[in-house]
């Protein structure tokens, strides 16, 4: 009886490491080492530490001065926001109202969620429209694509300060809107509501070119036969869009919305440069709050605990993406 042929990888596992294998492993490690050493020190260890730190009290300095405090940091989030106490005084909804309108953490959470809820759909719609239009154009498509993508490459500081100026009193945007009959002529970033929309505007303006590129690639992957069959069946362009294009783009839309949600939750540069969270706390976002707690107020443990909230949100969204991707793959 001859043994059935086994794939190389499985056959090797049956024996203990031979000298050759040991040599191969060493060679492999020598390939990995230059990157892995840097990666381990500057990324992997900090990631692990970030989880540890949220359970400890640490003012920096030697690692041995770190003290395990269990869930105290998380508890102090709740204590410091006094929600329980306020709920006792004002009732459940009164407490919620207090949390989301008076407490820094509540306000920045609320702002971040609103910002995400508005920016994600707007960016997606803009990206799809751009991709559809660009997919049809024959002449100059490459040039248009480059132009539309450019905002994504430009630095946030230059972009944000430019938009800030454009949205100022007597600035070009207000002038254009006034010529259309608007009476608003204030700096957008000085007005609570408009500051929020200024940030949404800049974000959508910047996102749409990037996701357009992803949609364009997806559009080119849709089989032509589907459209040909639909044309034979007498479906018009509009019906074809709803019945073929949009369903075929669903995995891409799902992927893009996940990436956008994560990106929106991490927003920092835009708010820091355009409004610094103001006016008042109208555009204060989660990461800006973490930053201020850590680097302005030196509440390391608390900041880490809040950062964990961000981490959990992002991880949950990512896990959801993997799950759904598997479902699409199976269909």
């Amino acid at each position: 009886m001859t043994a059935k042929p086994v794939p190389a990888g499985q056959r090797r596992k049956k024996y203990s490491m031979s000298r050759l294998e040991r040599k191969n492993t060493l060679i492999a490690y020598s390939f990995l080492a230059p990157n892995f050493i840097g990666f381990a020190i500057f990324t992997l260890v900090p990631v692990i530490l970030s989880v540890v730190m949220s359970f400890t009290e640490w003012k920096g300095g030697a690692l041995s001065s770190m003290q395990w405090v269990g869930l105290d940091n998380y508890a102090s989030i709740f204590k410091s926001v006094k929600v329980g106490q306020k709920m006792g005084e004002l009732g459940f909804f009164g407490g919620l109202d207090y949390f989301f309108n008076k407490v820094d953490l509540g306000i920045s959470l609320k702002n971040t969620v609103f910002y995400t809820a508005v920016t994600v759909p707007l960016s997606l719609v803009a990206a799809i429209v751009l991709a559809l239009v660009l997919n049809k154009a024959v002449k100059g498509a490459v040039a248009f694509r480059a132009v539309l993508f450019f905002p994504y490459v430009a630095s946030m500081v230059a972009i944000c300060v430019c938009w800030n100026f454009m949205l100022m009193k007597n600035g070009p945007i207000n002038q254009m809107l006034m010529s259309l009959g608007s009476t608003f002529n204030k700096s957008w970033t000085a007005d609570g509501t408009m500051a929020f929309w200024a940030i949404v505007l800049v974000s959508v303006w910047r996102n749409m070119g990037y996701y357009m590129v992803i949609y364009l690639a997806a559009l080119q992957g849709i089989p032509r036969e589907l459209y040909e069959a639909a044309t034979v069946d007498g479906a018009n362009k509009w019906q074809q869009f709803w019945a073929i294009t949009l369903p075929q783009l669903r995995p891409t839309t799902f992927f893009a919305s996940i990436m956008l949600i994560i990106g929106c939750f991490k927003i920092y540069d835009t708010v820091y440069i355009m409004t610094e969270g103001g006016p008042g706390r109208a555009t204060k976002m989660l990461v800006l709050y973490i930053y201020q707690e850590a680097f302005n107020n030196y509440h390391y443990g608390l900041a880490s605990a809040i950062a964990m909230v961000l981490l959990v949100v992002v991880l949950l969204v990512t896990i959801l993406q993997f799950r759904m991707e598997k479902r699409y793959a199976n269909n």
């Binding site: 100026f165 303006w205 992927f255 540069d269």
Partner: protein, 277 residues
């Protein structure tokens, strides 16, 4: 005689929409350039003029004397070039091991890389900061270099690409007596120029535009990068709109040049790696 040339109204509509959207995309840049050539009182004139009455080119020489722009540029260039070099070299090296070599602990190590991709930087920037400060890296250019140079993203991107290169190619080279280092240098590297171009442009642009990292780590003026320096310029000369715009235009030039030269790789890189997640 019945032949009627159909007027391509659909096509024209498509181009109109495209031009309108491109204009919307470009307006801030056009306005930026226009404002950078005006006098400060002209910037918000009513009604606004897109083309300045006279071109004040001297704005572009003034900005270099107001803040040490040249130093900022030099720092950013040093950081961006070093990071790009280290990142491309070490990640293509590591990616080769992950894609083409069999060794103990491969899957565990790769999982370490992958799992950190999902973690937002903001969640671990604090322990990273404390760690780096205890290593004496605070307020040194080296801090930003090591921060950016060993990202999991680079390894992931290169590995995806190497996996599409057939194993038989490596096997054949091994039989011919080429060492693993030789295979990497003579076969993998020449075959992966597209992936490397993608990684180079991503890394360079990302490092050049990085704002939060340098803001946290670099405090002394002689260490600042262009983004943080530009921010300082804005704070110190907040009403010199024309000069701020001139400085902004200047800060955009290097990235624009790299983008225009390599935009094909950039966009194709996003289209493929973006879809693969």
């Amino acid at each position: 005689m019945t032949q009627v040339r159909r007027f391509p109204i659909g096509k024209i509509l498509i181009y109109l929409v495209l031009i309108a959207l491109s204009a919307f995309t470009l307006i801030p840049f056009v306005w930026m350039i226009s404002a950078s050539l005006k006098l400060d009182r002209e910037v918000f004139s009513f009604p606004m003029r897109w083309i300045p009455e006279t071109f004040h080119w001297e704005n572009y020489s003034l900005i270099w004397t107001k803040v040490p722009m040249l130093t900022y540029f030099k720092n950013t260039a040093i950081i961006a070039i070093c990071v790009t070099l280290i990142q491309t070299l070490t990640s293509s090296f590591a990616a080769y091991a992950f894609a083409k070599l069999r060794f103990k602990g491969r899957d565990v190590l790769f999982l370490c890389y992958i799992s950190t991709i999902a973690v937002p930087w903001q969640a671990y920037m604090l322990p990273q900061f404390i760690l780096m400060r205890s290593m004496g890296l605070y307020d040194r250019l080296l801090a930003i270099m090591v921060l950016q140079a060993f990202s999991a993203f680079g390894v992931f991107l290169m590995r995806q690409f190497y996996q599409n290169i057939p194993d038989e190619l490596c096997e054949a080279a091994r039989i011919d007596g080429l060492s693993e280092y030789g295979i990497w240098a003579r076969i993998m590297l020449p075959l992966s120029t597209a992936a490397i171009a993608t990684l180079v442009i991503f890394t360079f642009v990302g490092t050049w535009n990085d704002f939060m990292g340098p803001m946290i780590y670099l405090t002394r003026d002689e260490n600042k990068t262009i983004q943080v320096g530009l921010r300082r310029f804005i704070q110190e000369n907040s009403s010199d709109y024309h000069l701020i715009m001139a400085a902004s235009v200047v800060s955009l030039v290097p990235v624009s040049v790299v983008f225009l030269a390599l935009q094909r790789y950039f966009i194709e890189g996003i289209a493929t790696s973006g879809l693969k997640g």
